[in-house]
Symmetry: D2
Subunit: 411 residues, 4 copies
């Protein structure tokens, strides 16, 4: 094993590398204290390094004790200007205490995952919140919470919803979560997807990535949704759509990616076929109602690492992967999101931070979309790295684009 | 052949049928004069019928003389309360005259395709424009023009950009244009797509539908784009991306769906391989620079119905389908968009008209997004017709959705 | 329209062109009278030309009056050394008479489609059959008949089963029938496949091509089979598998490609949903039991060209395309198989004829596989035309391939 | 962790379970000593159990020390009537010695993987070979060797080529190797496949499974082949085809599945892009010329578990997974083939053994195809387990199938 735990990920995060290079001299984040909370594995380590290279002082938390990698914490904590407030496998109390300690340092910028730190700073450190310059959030679940906070007028500072950029939606959610969820399910179960009925709950960006790729591997896919438009899209994309009560009855797998809760719940359990496999690809561990499984089971075993089996009385044996936590980050073979995906997401987070720090826009408190120019700049940086060239508009095309008078003709 | 030219399409437009049924009594459009311009084939005929069933007086134009079907015009013109201003195969002058005559009737609502009537009424009948209650537009190209007009502050009335609803984007553009463009290309050339290199210009909704389905049929796909984000999406979806100058050189087919002009132009011609097939799936006939082909060719032949072959000197023979007009509507085997697709698009147009007429919202002049509630209602109506049931949020899920405090836990 | 009806197809049959060129001097078929029966459209015309270029005297029949194109017959009949025995739209008696007249000429070689001429010559012209040098057959249905004849020891001469070469199976059946069946269904109905449930009967080469491509366009696919291995393959490829009685109940489309008969029959009719569309992609018009539909219907209409609608009493309206004949050859928009596909199939037929004529092998009566060397040679000729280069085995690889002693190691 | 290491796999091997149940009473293998060599993980354990349940005495070897799982060896060795001759991680000499010791026991049947034991028994224990009743072989590489031995007339007993059954080809090679190779590559590298150029060497059953599924996940795929027919199939399936020297130059990944050697060799190294990832999915570790890499590299590091990085002077850094051994069985996260896949393959091996033991056919020495009836029976057993029903031929269909006279008509 290489001694530097971040080395491999650095090779797969060329956009971050090019940002570190470009801003290593200017130091646009000099004088800023930046809090970062995210699943603390190697890619997050490279992200923290990149912010540090641009001049920031870093306060580092994790997103889950289970997804926190010891060697990464150790490597970061040895860097001058980077302070870590978590350890791998921490218990709840110590974890909470670490996050409060971090917030008490008074970060200028908070780059969050699941709205953990931003919610906490508003809820429990309001005086710190009032001094924060701005923040960024990278998950769907976190944005959902920020929207609710924003609706209630509770936000004390501007937050960029990085999760909602086209780049993030397509690159990270569709492809990153899609691929890493499936590869982890495949290896955790050592069962195959071809020929199986895979029920995907939720047809947002994550869900459609999972569904499309499961289909690409040979699965028969069934989608559940609460939104009629997304349901119709799923139908048109070739998936079957059904309510969970019906879909569950023919599932070999149920993969949940809704950002909601109780997607599989007590009322569905009896319908599940014997040997069904349940896994969660959503941010929080509430998508599959684990309490309902615990209550219903007459016996719980662990037939394979990462698999909890609930033996329902007179009913099916239900296999739950990774205890209902998100499978691509906490499964037994989990390597986290593919590195290149995090590369662009973290690059967006970096650009959001730089934009807030350099004050290019005068933003009041609230949740904001990342300006298109930043999103587009990251996309172009990524294409450059891939060696992909694209067309430029000609003058005549630009003119045509801007002119509303009809130039095409039907004759 | 059935005597009623609209019969078959009625079977495939269940959403329009259910609207006609629901609003046949209320007559929400009673007292309104509605101008409709669209490719005047059977589905548009059913749309016109539906508006008429809801009480409107109709003024009907087409979108192109070539896509105007005589029997449809005839059937509509026999209905009391429907006036037609076009005929199949009209020459330019008569066509223009018909549209002006139509506008002089002073329509209250204009439901447009390609912004033809709306541009014309502003440009040449400003006094009529000032009295219009509102409009709707169903194409990408039309929206682009409306945006330019709106930016210049020129719009005199509110227009709903029906093209930009999620329903329209996914249902009509991705799937409708995608399928009908490919099936028309396949039959017009009688060549196969499997094993061919298909260059798709533009990765908007139409382009991605074409690219995905061409790939699903077995083609090797190359996408050209001017937008780095769309280019990156195309790469991640498994297509190759290259500038046209490079892509053209290995193309068996070039299918254009950009909404722009000169996508294939003089500078690309020498790069094209002998026997290449060019077709346009965009609204206007300017995507492929036909003048450039005419100028460059030393001879022009028609080797097969619907195919114009340009023999370039010392160079390739280039086959252009349907004279560069949109292939799915004007090709020799063209049946227009699949009926079910137009069903939802026209249902959105209907709902937009009804919303403007009933004045549920007080809108000033400008381009507006169709309210989500209308889009969602059409999606639900369509799912109902397909017999697809979906889940409803539970109370606890709705609460969770609205609450920003963290309920999931990492412990 | 170009005056030469074969011109377009010649451009898409480069393998035949290269054979015509290579054998134009040698004239390996000089002195041979070759009977050809096949759907007599432009590609078959080029095939006949190619045989003629290699020195043969040609006797030409068709495969169906409906798929016989008048201009092709006319163009061929004007060539010295080519005699045609069919006309477009011939009635049954005249058609039969023509085939008998052809056989009475005493062909040396019979290149058949559906085993029409070969069955007829054995059944009704046994004295001619005894003098035939050999034959070739290009369809699955024809091979099935030849196998039965061979089992009964009835064949009087050797026949190459061209249909069963890897080239033919993958190129022609999977891709040619797959694409042309779907494009014809799409345009004949003007309905879309995305979001529809498409039942494909039969998972042989044709069926799997149709199923895979329908899925690639966005359909939900259900396969019916009688063979457990093919059924399992279909499941593993991601299709659902069910008996027809069950599949029919949820079908939007039923496409039959089994080579069998009565695939959709009386017992299934009541299960069919209203508006279902039935089409046949198998050789004979017996896959869908049209008599059963006729008997059951209380009314028959034609709502659209190429569509026969059976109104079942108190039951569904069932739409049958192209009267149950094979949709890709007899539908209203039919162009026959894509030209490139026929190019390789006809090239195999040519090579089979040449092999039989030059007597490279001394074959007794019976059904034979085409030697691999011929199949491989056609594949290579096709790749050359496509500009695709492949690897050659190195000496070490060839050695390894031939050596059974273990060289790889686990240590 | 469950104490019984075979428990999880038993749940996913329903066909083996049903065989154990059916033959538990009859004991058709009673009195037979059966040698088994295969990757000795949990599924192989269940296979051994099943043979034991049918009455056999078992002699168990592995296929590779690296793929031999200690707990499985231990569990099996505790069963009376099962003797194990390997241990996990054994060194070469001990491994060899164990296999010789096994062969000296004089097995009646040899069920092999890679032709290891069968080659050894002929080469080094000819007196034992002469007494063997028969054998079975489950890999492509093994069959290749057996064909060479058979051509040289060296085989002393009949061997069923289980690898070549339709069931094995489609179920195990296409889907099993396809999925498990990709999931192991994905987790070993933690990089994503979407948007990457994946070069797949070989378009046999394994290669096409890998290529199709990689494409289904969003990769751009390039296939290399030496056989023109397979190359053409790959083109028609939508993959690009190129010689390795050309494909290597644009590869993000090269996955080899040819059954040959030196697929990536010295001459290709300079063409490889920096950071390319090489992995082998073929049986032996000779597909990627590791010696060439060793010789060329100026430095070798291990940037991540399971990844060997060769730093070429002035050239690319080349990452080799699992030391060039087959990635799905020896990678760091390897779980072996998905269990259900091995279920059917081992069921075929079981049926082959039972057929040889019960002497239903009187076979001389040589390599034989497994009779269709056995293959079909396993397929049906598998469908039964999946709850998939299929159609039965009607009498009329069976008659039609057997009758060569034309019943379909063109009129």
């Amino acid at each position: 094993m290489s001694e530097d735990p971040l080395a491999w990920s650095r090779d797969f995060t060329p956009v971050l590398r090019s940002l570190a290079e470009e801003y290593g001299d200017d130091q646009p984040l000099d004088g800023y204290t930046v809090a970062v909370a995210s699943h603390l594995e190697t890619k997050t380590g490279v992200f923290v390094e990149t912010l540090h290279a641009a001049g920031a002082r870093l306060l580092v938390s994790g997103s889950e004790p289970y997804s926190t990698r010891g060697p990464v914490v150790e490597a970061l904590s040895q860097v001058d200007g980077i302070e870590t407030y978590v350890e791998a496998g921490m218990r709840e109390e110590a974890w909470e205490a670490g996050q409060h300690e971090l917030l008490e340092q008074g970060p200028d910028l908070i780059l969050d995952d699941g709205c953990e730190l931003i919610a906490k700073v508003h809820d429990e450190h309001p005086e710190v919140a009032r001094e924060v310059v701005g923040g960024g959030e990278q998950t769907t679940a976190g944005i959902r919470r920020l929207e609710a906070m924003d609706d209630e007028g509770m936000l004390e500072f501007p937050v960029y919803g990085v999760n909602d950029t086209p780049m993030k939606n397509h690159f990270d959610n569709v492809h990153g979560t899609g691929e890493s969820s499936l590869s982890n399910v495949m290896l955790t179960t050592n069962a195959m997807l071809a020929g199986k009925t895979v029920v995907v709950a939720g047809y947002g960006y994550c869900g459609r990535g999972i569904a499309r790729k499961a289909r690409g591997l040979g699965a028969d896919t069934v989608v559940t949704e609460v939104d009629p438009r997304k349901a119709l899209e799923a139908v048109m994309d070739g998936h079957r759509v059904a309510p969970m009560a019906e879909a569950a009855a023919e599932a070999d797998y149920v993969l949940s990616a809704t950002g909601s809760r109780d997607v599989v719940r007590a009322e569905h359990l009896d319908a599940l076929p014997d040997g069904v496999i349940l896994a969660n690809a959503g941010h929080f561990d509430v998508e599959i109602d684990v309490d309902a499984l615990e209550s219903a089971a007459e016996r719980v075993t662990e037939p394979k690492e990462g698999v909890t089996r609930y033996h329902l009385p007179d009913g099916p044996r239900v296999n739950l992967l990774a205890e209902g936590r998100l499978i691509n980050l906490t499964g037994p073979y989990s390597q986290g999101h593919p590195a290149e995906v995090m590369d662009t997401t973290f690059a967006m987070m970096f650009e959001a931070a730089r934009d807030l720090a350099t004050g290019d826009r005068d933003l009041g408190p609230g949740l904001y979309q990342v300006p298109d120019r930043l999103d587009r700049a990251v996309a172009r940086r990524k294409l450059d790295d891939m060696g992909v060239a694209i067309d430029e508009m000609t003058d005549r095309q630009r003119e045509y684009y801007e002119d509303w008078r009809l130039e095409g003709s039907a004759f």
